[in-house]
Amino acid sequence: MPSDSTGHSGDASAAQQQFLSLFLRSEREIFRYVALLVPNVADAEDIVQQTALALWEKFDAYDRSQPFTPWACRFALNKAKQWIERRQRWLALLEGGLAEELAQRREELRPEMESRLKHLESCLGKLPEEQRSIVEGYYYRRDGIEKLAEHSGRTIAATYKNLQRIRQALQVCIENAAKGV
């Protein structure tokens, strides 16, 4: 397990520990940064993996006086672009400088989004059981759409549609909560 204490075991292992500790703390944020460009969860995770390896290779060059996450996100952006270049569909989605534009706009929107997203947990708690179970299956258990469809007795298309509706309901809920409705 990584820990913040640099131990007995020399420079290399101290650096490893430091890297892992920094990386694990930033990983969720890096994931969300990547997911803005490549929203599909499994693909975004693959890109985060590749980013982790690239970060470790270049960890010597990291300036410890600077925050880790922005440094890591620059790598993530490069890795995401490399990944996108090999995939026609994602390339089409992000062409014309849209990737950079989205990433930048997300930074600007951050305070506003935080004020809404802090209600996400309580909104999840308000979902009816069936919806809650689907969203939990998809995002938390990572059950796979076929299994979720099978369990709910719906088609795959209907299950995707259902996920879309649930996210919409969550969005309405967090927006109302942020407005104090």
């Binding site: 694990l24 599909n40 994602w90 997300r106 996400l120 309580s122 809650r132």
Partner: protein, 544 residues
């Protein structure tokens, strides 16, 4: 295709992007609207943020679940196993190969924190299910039949043995074999011969040999390790193998196999079931015997359900394991309705095709309500104890401390305890057996029963059909159940954080009976005999 914002098309296309199912055409149209319309862009960013938070913040789910239980007693599958964890671990291992330090990633951390064991917990990963003329070459004492097996070496000199991993995988080995148990889903074979049968829930079961790593992708294979050579035979389904030191994985289909010698590249061979005949025979006999036991128990359970004093009978036989209701199979189910499963995980019961519920987290429980007053009560359950982590580990407890209710539990030291609560304030009686459940019974299915006989003024504890202790009962009937839980306790207003008040059970249950009368010793023994996982003497098969 052109998309405007806001529109249904926009909603649909954003969702398709999240699910990774957008077409090229949709991707192009989305790009256009996002570049030309600032409002669409902001909306897109927010929607993707919701999507990626859900995917990256497991806490959102765990915490919301606990809340719900505290406030509304809603039913939720808590902390289910995460598919994502496997993926995660693979890449972290790749990373670790670079940094040599193994980190489990935050998902891994999350999971390990939640399941952090406290107190006595069995480390067992498998059990020794059957043996035929087995001679062992163990450094310490030879493994006992039916005993839980902890990670470590099994050295079978001759004969046959079957090991059931807690993942559900069944491995038969033929002596001489040196076999190391690593985890519930992982083993190593240094030399010898084995067959593995892997049910769907144990998919990913892995056997390593000096020459290759074998990962089962469903059903059945054989491995033969001799000198510096490993043969892999796939009898059913698909198996993935990876020669040691190579990064290449290859899938082998049914009827094929592979052979590696020293470090030479693998050769493809045809699967030869004949070479594993004795092991198949053992697996077959064992499966057949278990199906038969299960069938016999079903028949007797059917008869039991007609007993008018049987208020609740959870047989855990329902086939739909996504179901949150636990069916009361008793003929008097109009007395007590079905129960609600909160959290818990479905797992294998006494027999491979029998279901059980596993209690692991502090929130796992089964809740039900039995109205009425009774002069006597009998409680009986088949349980597999995984660990006695709490001072008091609940088997069955009515909520709170209501007059006339009882709490049935196992204490940390293995003592069976029954607390009867009287009608006066602070009036209660605790009847405890001598330590009955010891470490070497952990991981095994045991039958526990307690009889609260109001008319004779007596309490009796039973373990596997045999009386464990008897006590004079001072609390007077009538007794009640009311709202009660299996595997946990709702303290109802008592401080939640007091460790003494946390009483969740660690283990599995695959049958529970509640009678509104006192059963006698013979009846308890009959319950045990009808349900015991395997006949006492027949487990050791003889070769013909």
């Amino acid at each position: 295709m052109k998309i405007v914002f806001p529109s249904r098309d926009f909603d649909k296309t954003v969702a398709a992007a999240c699910h990774g199912s957008a077409s090229d055409e949709q991707a192009r149209a989305l790009n256009e609207v996002l570049r030309s319309d600032a409002a669409a862009r902001d909306e897109y960013i927010l929607r993707l943020e919701i999507h990626s938070r859900l995917a990256s913040e497991p806490d959102l789910f765990a915490l919301a679940s606990e809340d719900k239980i505290a406030t509304s007693e809603k039913i939720l599958p808590l902390r289910p196993p995460r598919r994502g964890t496997d993926r995660k671990r693979t890449w972290v291992l790749a990373l670790a190969a670079c940094v040599t330090l193994l980190a489990a990633g935050w998902w891994g951390l999350q999971v390990s924190r939640q399941n952090e064991p406290k107190g006595t917990t069995s480390k067992a990963v498998a059990m020794l299910n059957r043996v035929v003329d087995a001679q062992w070459n163990q450094r310490d004492e030879a493994p006992r039949l039916g005993a839980p097996l902890e990670p470590g070496w099994l050295r079978l000199k001759s004969g046959l043995a079957q090991i059931v991993f807690y993942s559900g995988a069944r491995v038969a080995i033929e002596g001489p074999t040196e076999f190391q148990l690593i985890s519930p889903n992982e083993a190593l074979c240094r030399s010898g011969k084995l067959t593995a049968e892997v049910p769907p829930e144990a998919r990913g079961f892995r056997v390593d040999t000096p020459q290759m790593n074998v990962t089962d992708l469903g059903t059945s294979f054989g491995v033969d390790v001799k000198d510096r050579r490993t043969e892999l035979h796939v009898f059913k389904g698909t198996v993935e193998f990876q020669p040691t030191g190579s990064t290449v994985r290859q899938n082998l289909k049914e009827g094929t196999g592979a052979m590696t010698e020293s470090s030479r590249p693998p050769k493809l061979i045809a699967a030869d079931p004949k070479a594993f005949a004795s092991l198949f025979d053992l697996q077959l006999k064992s499966t057949a015997a278990e199906l038969l036991r299960h069938e016999r128990w079903r028949a007797s359970a059917g008869r039991l359900n007609e007993d008018p004093s049987l208020l609740v009978h959870f047989d855990f036989e329902q086939t739909d394991t996504s179901e949150w209701r636990l069916r009361n199979a008793s003929g008097r189910k109009n007395v007590a309705p079905d129960a609600t499963i909160v959290g818990c995980q479905w797992t294998e019961g006494r027999w491979p095709d029998k279901h059980a519920l596993e209690f692991r987290s502090v929130n796992d429980r089964v809740r039900f309500d039995v109205p009425g007053e009774y002069e006597s009560l009998t409680l009986a359950a088949w349980v597999r104890v995984q660990g006695l982590d709490r001072q008091i580990n609940s088997l069955f407890m009515s909520d709170g401390f209501e007059a006339g209710t009882v709490h049935w539990s196992v204490r940390q030291d293995g003592v069976l305890a029954l607390t009867a609560i009287g009608s006066e304030p602070r009036e209660y009686q605790i009847c405890t057996s001598p330590p009955a459940l010891t470490l070497n019974q952990f991981g095994l299915w045991v039958h526990l029963a307690v009889v609260i006989d109001g008319s004779a003024g007596q309490v009796a504890h039973y373990l596997n059909g045999i009386p464990a202790s008897e006590h004079a009962l001072k609390i007077k009937p009538p007794f009640r159940v009311g709202v009660a839980e299996l595997g946990n306790w709702n303290a109802k207003g008592f401080p939640r954080n007091d460790p003494f008040m946390i009483r969740n059970f660690g283990g599995a249950m695959d049958e529970f009976c509640l009678f509104g009368r006192a059963l006698n010793e013979n009846e308890i023994r009959a319950l045990y005999s009808a349900g015991k996982p395997q006949p006492d003497a027949a487990a050791e098969l003889k070769t013909n």
